[in-house]
């Protein structure tokens, strides 16, 4: 057992680093179904309809959520200049999260599902996850309440907001306590389906970036006021957007209009946040040559820009009519979760692990390979799927029989699959690298704690 400063954070990262390679492998196997539909036969657990929810749960709730909570467990005490309220509770929550994801994976593999997208886990697991979220929130709120740092840095705003609304979103989306029929069920489902992205992955990811960006470029954040505008705009605009997923269905017209308008309104928080990040980076870009952590963070920001310009564009009624239901949307979803927030979480892990183990990252060439494979593979993946989506949409528009455009997408699916292989290899390298950092018995002089936030960033 290595000596680590905060075992709860390390435990979260270990869990995340088991789920990330596994999750992307599941994704790759699912993608294989598109080019070799009969490559597994007679194994229910490996049929596409069951691998897809497992892929989502491993990546979204296993990898990203564990990395996020681990990062918050590290960052919030640092920003508050106080230890985590209960380290014991922190370790138990890590174990609970790890066990929960495995339970969900086993249930979903065996067809125990609620059939609600992103909320497939059965109801008893929903309740456990809700209790778990409350435990995490209590731990972090008590840490903030006991703080010795007076000013609240903007990352704390993001984390606080998230820990308030994410349990609410989760309980509404999984509807453990109420019953809705027909289209009302769909409305609530997509409220959840979009807000798990908007009010959990986005807000924590942006909070992590607000923490890391000034530290990595060694410069205060460009504008604290801009970051506040971004925070409140996310809080206002994100929640009503979910209905844009069912624009073509007969749900109330006013609700669809509200979703479209607020989707376009999302440009406000996104552009303020990115303006802030890129101006913080102004004239410091060359630092990304040597610093792979910063490279991952910047890659995340760039993909965030693409995601969030694409999102409002495709939420408008006629663009949605054309590209909805196609692989374009799959590409967009991966742009958010893989391109943006996975890159940000990777940056957080690369930043935090040396600081809790007191050792530098085991292998810099491995970091370089990880960066190149991830970004190259993902860009290839994204472009191929976007083109596939356009092929598919044109097939519908001109009334082609379905099997014809399925065949027409084959080359794009192969390219996507090859990109997927690069991503998977990159993540295995990443996991290997971090485990070697933790467990290789090499003693290096201890890295001093980096400053939490420079004085200018604290000027609220």
């Amino acid at each position: 057992m290595p000596k680590v400063k905060q075992l709860s954070v390390a435990m979260y990262f270990w869990g995340a680093l088991i789920f990330l390679p596994l999750g992307v492998t599941y994704g790759l196997f699912s993608a294989t179904h598109f080019i070799m539909p009969t490559w597994v036969e007679g194994i229910p657990q490996l049929s596409f309809g069951r691998m897809r929810p497992v892929h989502i749960h491993l990546v979204a709730f296993g990898w990203l959520s564990m990395a996020y909570v681990g990062a918050m467990y590290y960052m919030i005490p640092k920003m508050c200049k106080t230890p985590l309220w209960s380290e014991t509770l922190g370790r138990w929550t890590a174990v609970a999260h790890f066990g929960w994801v495995w339970a969900a994976v086993i249930c979903l593999s065996n067809g125990i599902t609620e059939a609600r997208e992103y909320a497939e886990a059965p109801w008893f697991l929903d309740i456990i996850f809700l209790l778990y979220l409350v435990a995490v929130a209590v731990n972090l709120f008590m840490t903030i309440a006991n703080r010795t740092q007076k000013k609240l840095y903007v990352s704390i705003w993001y984390f606080t907001g998230t820990l308030i609304w994410f349990p609410c979103v989760y309980i509404l989306g999984n509807r453990v306590f109420m019953r809705l029929d027909g289209l009302n069920d769909a409305i609530a489902n997509w409220f959840y389906g979009h807000n798990i992205l908007g009010l959990w992955f986005t807000t924590v990811g942006v909070g992590i970036t607000y923490y890391l960006m000034p530290l990595l470029v060694r410069r205060p954040i460009y504008s604290h006021k801009l970051s506040m505008i971004g925070f409140w705009a996310i809080a206002l605009f994100y929640a009503p957007t979910g209905t844009h997923h069912i624009l073509q269905s007969p749900v109330p017209y006013w609700l669809k209009s509200l979703a479209v308008v607020s989707s376009i309104g999302l440009l406000v928080p996104v552009l303020t946040v990115l303006f802030n990040f890129f101006l913080t980076l102004d004239k410091k870009w060359p630092q990304a040559y040597a610093n792979y952590t910063l490279r991952f963070l910047i890659s995340g920001c760039v993909f965030y820009l693409i995601t969030c310009v694409q999102g409002p564009f495709q939420a408008t009624r006629w663009v949605n009519w054309y590209i909805h239901f196609t692989q374009w949307v799959v590409a967009h979803a991966h742009l958010a979760l893989l391109g943006t927030f996975t890159n940000m979480s990777i940056a957080a892990i690369y930043y935090i692990v040396p600081r809790i183990t007191g050792r530098p990252i085991f292998s810099r060439p491995a970091m370089a390979w990880h960066w190149w494979l991830t970004q190259f593979g993902f860009t290839q993946f994204f472009v191929a799927l976007t083109i596939a989506g356009l092929v598919q949409a044109a097939g519908w528009r001109y009334g082609y029989p379905i099997v014809q455009w399925v065949q027409a997408m084959y080359p794009e699916q192969v390219v996507r699959w090859l990109g997927g292989i690069m991503i998977v290899v990159g993540q295995y390298i990443f996991a290997w690298n971090i485990y070697r950092t933790f467990f290789t018995p090499v003693e290096v002089e201890e890295d001093s704690d980096a400053p939490v936030a420079t004085p200018a960033t604290q000027a609220a």
Binding site: P37, G49, A115, P250, Y398, V406
Partner: protein, 393 residues
Amino acid sequence: MQVRQKDYAFLVAFVSATFLSIVFMTVILPNMVFQPQPSDYVEALTVQELRGREVYKKEGCWYCHTQFVRPQDRNEGPVALSGDFEFKEETVQLAKEHGYQLVHLLGTERTGPDLSLIGGKMPDAWHKAHHANPQAFNPGSIMPKYNYLSEQEMDDLVAYLQTLGRKKNALSRQAHETFRGNFNAAYQTTTEGGVSLGYLIEPEVPWEFKQFYEKKYKNQNPIKYENRYIAGARGIYNNKCAHCHGVQGDGNGPRALSLTERPANFQSNDPNMGYDEWSDIKWYWKIAEGAGPGAVMPRWNGVLHPDQIWYLVIYCRYLAADRTLPLPPRDEPLRAPELGGRTFHYEGDDLVVSYPEPPPGMPQSDPALDPGLTLQVDEELAETGQPVGAAGN
């Protein structure tokens, strides 16, 4: 160091208030004001069908197959109504008794066809065999094989699939069949028994028809009714149409066995059909726009070049009307337009087809170049493009 906690309490309170107001607006308010009544097409599910629904959920069918048509899509049949996704009271009771939780299965991505109107289109046996081996039925399909489902699960799943849109399909097919002889009337009818047909957006004249008339063709088939062109069209017909309609156009193609509604028999003597009296424009419209709501035949518009459809028109007329023109023997390499290489251009109203030079080794089989294959043709017919007995438009 002692710090004030008041700021933080404000933050927490303000964030909560903002969020709860938005939740009220987007989730609770819609649920309060939006309570559609079950529409006429909703059916009470039997116990077996509910079990099938569970199989559908369990296997994740809804990841690839949606259950709502896009209203703007013309070729998807009747549009979905709000009440279609409600459940009748007895169904809810039944579901509660059996412990099933009803979930919307609208779906999220469409890798396969939309299933909201699948009910009644194919017989049960077709569905079962298709689930076990989709590629056997549809060679390009990427659907996984569900051959691991038990007999019971397969039966349940098929029973559930047959409920989807069954009533709607039956009603729209009934409307279609009522007006089968008079297709203009069929497409002008906006509602039949309360059915809102996806096709019938404009009550007066179907806009596709109107638009079609305004095109340059003006009921003029650019392809002459000559045996060489008919022989050229045979390749398209055999590729695209013969699976259902049969090589002889008698509606007995291999796929016809799996369809509940038999494909059109062009040789039928039924006076209501009167295929031998159909005008060119009517044939064209039928091929281009499909057989109508609730039917399996797709729209070939866009899939086939208009000239290819015109070729099919003369071939269908050949199958329906006389079948007397001796065509080149089958072992001749076909000069089907879709085999490529040939070019079209218009000279005035005439379409001129130019064939490329055959590659070395190929027999000189182009009937235009081979006088041995040019057979005696009725002069009037070749001039007017109208077969004997075919009604003009």
